[in-house]
Subunit: 502 residues, 2 copies
Amino acid sequence: MTETTQKHLKKLYKTLKLLKKYEHAVALMNFDFETAAPPCARDDENDTINFFANESFRISNSKATKETIVYLYEHKDELEELDKALIDGLYDEYLKTKNVTPSVQLKWLKVYGRAYTDWLAAKKAGKFRYFKKSLAAVVAAAREEINLRENALPDFYDNLLNDCEKGMLKAELDGFFGELKVGLIDLIAKIKSSKQVIRRDFLSRKVPVYKQAEFSDYVLKLNGYDFDKGYLTTTEHPFTMDISRYDARVTTHYYEDMFLSNIYSVVHEGGHAIFMQNERAEDYEHFINDRITNGMHESVSRFYENVIGRSEEYIGLIYPQLKRVFSEELKDVSERELYEAVNIVEPSLIRTEADEVTYGLHIVIRYEMEKALCSGKLKVEDVPAEWNRLYKEYLGVTPKTDAEGVLQDVHWTSGFGYFPSYALGNAYNAMYLKKISEDMDFKGAIRRGDFAAINEWMKERVFKKANVLTPKEWLKDITGESLSAKPFIDYLTEKYSKIYCF
Amino acid sequence: MTETTQKHLKKLYKTLKLLKKYEHAVALMNFDFETAAPPCARDDENDTINFFANESFRISNSKATKETIVYLYEHKDELEELDKALIDGLYDEYLKTKNVTPSVQLKWLKVYGRAYTDWLAAKKAGKFRYFKKSLAAVVAAAREEINLRENALPDFYDNLLNDCEKGMLKAELDGFFGELKVGLIDLIAKIKSSKQVIRRDFLSRKVPVYKQAEFSDYVLKLNGYDFDKGYLTTTEHPFTMDISRYDARVTTHYYEDMFLSNIYSVVHEGGHAIFMQNERAEDYEHFINDRITNGMHESVSRFYENVIGRSEEYIGLIYPQLKRVFSEELKDVSERELYEAVNIVEPSLIRTEADEVTYGLHIVIRYEMEKALCSGKLKVEDVPAEWNRLYKEYLGVTPKTDAEGVLQDVHWTSGFGYFPSYALGNAYNAMYLKKISEDMDFKGAIRRGDFAAINEWMKERVFKKANVLTPKEWLKDITGESLSAKPFIDYLTEKYSKIYCF
């Protein structure tokens, strides 16, 4: 490395270290905003968060920073592997944002902030029309943002997809979702025609929050979540947040009459957090610890939630503790009844509460809608009608109000392209499920609660290169194969044919 | 106002608005640090907090800001009342800090950060020697800080006292604490010789945390705390934090076998928060909302905690709810037994768990020690021995380890001069207790739970001018009198002579 390159690299590291402080502060405040901020304080807190996010953007987008990035990109052959990966990402980001001024960026932040507020109000009222204007503004902001990029892909929606899951564009996803849709509709038909009766009366029994909270701690620890490097609290819409190197936080929501909701929420979010807690030290040292894609993350969280969490072996593992903590509420429920109940398949309205099988169709609907919205084929005012039409067609259900329809998810308050990651996550993990089952006694490990072994395999095979490979490369690296919906459909068919006897 | 003055004032307001963002961020992060930050993340979080506190100091201490303050101070006759108050305070602060560079300020922040860490370790081990070096460093940092001031008072400790409680210096406090000590020792002797037996077996009964949490919500709401502008969560050492205009947060700590600890902690902290929630809008608009002194604050929190919270009327008010929530645990406890139990007087080791009567002696001891430490008469290495000697002499008790002795409080990790505020708070509120009792049927209002009336009186008479008057002026304004320990001793004597029959 020449002396000049060395100097530039040192300068870059100094800037990235400074930016980490801003990111850390913004993350802490965002976490507070979602978990603690009192209603009347939210506007002020939002302003403060935006101020620091904007300050951070000023630094990362300053002339000096840009020059450093361009210089290093032009001399990247001199750099070691992880610094190369760092510079590739920064240069990509540089091309995306070089034409964006801090004031334009602040304008967008305000659009998203406003959209969030409008969405809350619209959802509360159950009326899409309160959100309509903001949704149009979000589309416009996204379009403006893409138009300013120097490295934009020709198709608008492809850019958004690429941001969330690099390389997984419409050309690929059309095929994937087509395969998934056919497979799922076929499977759901088989399940629907099954005569199997699954007991469900106990699912809505009242379970006090403090007992549910005790159980949350238990499952998180069981699965390998490290409370010394994390924290669990409550929020309206559960999420996981990567606050800093030793700080991956999990949130949940307790419903007294839906104890399962919390359990699977915690197991899902805990999966994200376990991924975060097992990132490589060198990824942090080279500032590339934030490169994991949404699809990779969802593959892991849904692996813990569904593949592990809804398996016979896992239910066997947690059943004794469940009977102890919920001794009153679940005293007449057998292990088999619990296993069947956590796997009830039934078309429904709400994505986050959907079962493992119908879930994919919720995503297909959102993918098709985002595609149409971004291409201009679907007008903002027609969004609720199209939503309801697709739910009727694919799932056979119709929302009573927009609150349980098009307004159920927060995602469209800040952009598009995230939803496909959920379905990709399922597909990815079904592919690596085959691998882990070859490499170790996977079911036995779950049965024994040997998460040390499972997490070690995940760390070595799934987590390790997530920050340096694209999803396609990463999938190939783990499984030797390319994306396909088939392993996921096969996994579901094998599992549910036993539960529903077909 | 001349045009130039107008321009300067506008510039100052712009800077203060910017500083508010930093203060808001630092407060949110400090709150997170005390309530949520996981053990392994604390160092990083502390670094980030210090970084932004230091950035904030850079702005407030910049050449441009200093010049604006000096200009406005020299032209303050042109300003309206509240801006005058603003400038007086800023100019005072300017004289204090004009010789402090950001790097020196960061050095002090690190001393305090280190002291906190050492104190935690020392307390855990019960050994003062792990904290000794840091305590010496805190004394040295305080001395260095005072030496750099342009407006330092001649006596070192007077400066620290003045920072906490303007105008309440040694000359005044020596008299006050002398009167207090004699009065309390005499009263404690009478109580000790009483034959009255107070039932206490139920105080250590196990009460589940979730029931205690339900009761916390109840008392906070009852007393007039507004949850739309606040938040309650748990921490190691309960505190209240003024995060932003509509955000005054309360923390507590639950012990399963000390249900009273939480109740009085919440009532005390809730008092601070009610004070914050009732500051005047114009105090915020003129950036003087942070001028309330510690003594004023403690007078209010201890008014709610003791004068109201431990009164017969308040116990009568909360008794039915207490019996409902703790129906199992307190089923055999009468209202009178509860009233007597919350007022048990007994010399003990821990300040925060001390009763209303012996509490003052814990403060006398700390005042005498701080005075000796700051004058150099007491050496750092002799601190634990002196502590134990004074506890033996004044309270007749001896700590088994330093953890329940000299290491019990966190305060000395960041400086000196705060402790007297607690005792002053008691004296202040005993003085305005006389006033409120003249102006309204105070006891009746408590009995009826009419906190609207009580808080309205407090707002008009106690809260209103707290940001613009010094403690002495404020006390005169409320009561027409000057500081004296007598009303407090009288209040205690009247109350406890009935409980202990002397």
